[in-house]
């Protein structure tokens, strides 16, 4: 028992819900996590899954492509169920009205009351958090920064997607779906877990300091005191007119030692470069160049499994920009194959959460 996965590509909600329920042969799951295409009505699928797992805490979100062991999917639902052997306890909180109030304090207070321990003192080897956020809210950094100053527990997760429509994304908790919201779950685990953050870039020998930014707009206005567009375009050997076609291949990285936290350019704006993630003023940035996603992911996962052992389950929060690159290179089958022998679910996100908000990265949690 422990952890089980299921998926369905049935386009009918009732059919999809029945199919995933029938694949889960755990009599009484404690926690269910699912990701579903935004082409499903999110209220109906949230209700349907909760109804199928009445005694479990159920969380999920809309996606832009799903991942299950051996496959990258579209228009599907993927689900992972944990029984009480795997999960000791679960507390779910929803932060509503996120854009007006991206404050996790009420949720963190609730976790403290539930576990009867200050979140600052919880054992980070026994507890972990999952965070699913409206992917169009633009609130990920604020939320992750505040969580990070209150607790040493790792919260990992992703920004919900909507199959590249960019209209509305949804998170859900215990049968109710929400937009402009985040779902936080604090889990006391009965099994060992570990986190893998992987991205496929090498560092180039070009560094800049973000000397003027507009954090609220995720915009860098100046690098090294000069126009950010001019500096970036020149650094990648391009012109201001053509540089945007190379954004995915040349993002910037905030380096923590040798580990990049990727900031992906989105577009040139009137006064600077807009990113999918903000950069604090004064931050040093390194120019990155893309490498092979399949090769790098396989290598990083192999290394992690050598340290950790064979996982009984894995959740993969994989950036939509990585998925698009895999599609462009006809590598989706090869990527799915990396996880063929591991019970895996995941989805293509509009941003990844680990320590902070990041881009063009895959954040995974592995369970023993």
């Amino acid at each position: 028992m422990g952890i089980k996965i299921a998926y369905s590509t049935n386009k009918n909600i009732d059919g999809a819900v029945k199919e995933v329920k029938d694949q889960i042969n755990i009599p009484d799951p404690r926690l269910v996590i699912f990701f579903s295409s935004s082409n499903f009505n999110q209220d109906e699928i949230a209700k349907g899954i909760k109804k199928s797992f009445k005694n479990a805490d159920v969380i999920g979100c809309s996606s832009s492509g799903e991942i299950v062991s051996g496959k990258m999917l579209n228009n599907s639902v993927v689900l992972m169920a944990f029984d009480k052997e795997a999960v000791n306890d679960v507390k779910v909180e929803v932060i509503k009205d996120l854009k007006n109030s991206p404050d996790p304090q009420t949720a963190l207070d609730s976790f403290e009351r539930y576990y009867k321990t200050p979140v600052s003192e919880l054992d980070f080897t026994k507890y972990f958090g999952i965070i699913l956020i409206d992917g169009l809210s633009g609130c990920e950094e604020k939320l992750m920064e505040q969580i990070g100053t209150k607790t040493n527990i790792s919260f990992i997760g992703g920004s919900a997607g909507d199959d590249l429509k960019f209209k509305s994304t949804y998170v859900n908790a215990n049968g109710t779906s929400y937009t402009n919201a985040a779902v936080l779950v604090l889990i006391k685990s009965n099994v060992k877990f570990d986190i893998l953050k992987t991205q496929s870039f090498c560092q180039l020998d070009k560094r800049f300091t973000a000397t003027k930014v507009n954090e609220g707009q995720r915009e860098i206005l100046q690098l090294d005191g000069e126009n950010a567009i001019d500096i970036y375009s020149k650094a990648i050997g391009s012109t201001n007119e053509t540089a945007s076609s190379k954004f995915m291949s040349f993002p910037l990285g905030v380096m923590a030692g040798d580990e990049p936290f990727v900031r992906s350019p989105q577009q040139f704006s009137e006064h600077g470069i807009k990113f999918f993630c903000n950069v604090a003023e004064g931050t040093e940035l390194t120019l990155l160049q893309s490498t092979d996603i399949v090769k790098d992911t396989q290598s990083d996962l192999d290394k992690k499994i050598n340290e950790f052992g064979e996982p009984s389950g894995l959740i993969n929060f994989n950036c939509i920009l990585r998925t698009l690159e895999l599609q462009n290179k006809n590598q989706t089958e090869a990527y799915g194959n990396i996880f063929r022998n591991i019970p895996t679910i995941g989805f293509s996100t509009y941003g990844e959460e680990y320590i902070g908000h990041i881009n063009q990265t895959s954040v995974m949690i592995l369970f023993k």
Binding site: T149, G257, F261, G282, T283
Partner: protein, 69 residues
């Protein structure tokens, strides 16, 4: 004057991580993402008031109240 930035960073890391190496590394990364790279400062680093003001706010966020001399 020099070294105050490093002392403030060390105080934040000490208070938050309590000598746990995993948490020390994660706390350093949190500071990097806030625009302060701990590896860039040492005992000889000048007491830049802009960075010290920024660190003061970060220390409050982390619940670190000890005043650094």
């Amino acid at each position: 004057m020099a070294g105050k930035i490093k002392r403030q960073i060390d105080e934040i890391i000490l208070t938050v991580a309590k000598n746990n190496q995993t948490i020390i590394n994660i706390t350093k990364t949190k500071l990097v993402l806030k625009g302060i790279n701990p590896d860039k400062f040492n005992d000889q680093s000048a007491d830049d008031p802009v960075i010290l003001d920024k660190l003061k706010l970060i220390a409050i966020e982390f619940g670190v109240n000890k005043e650094i001399k």
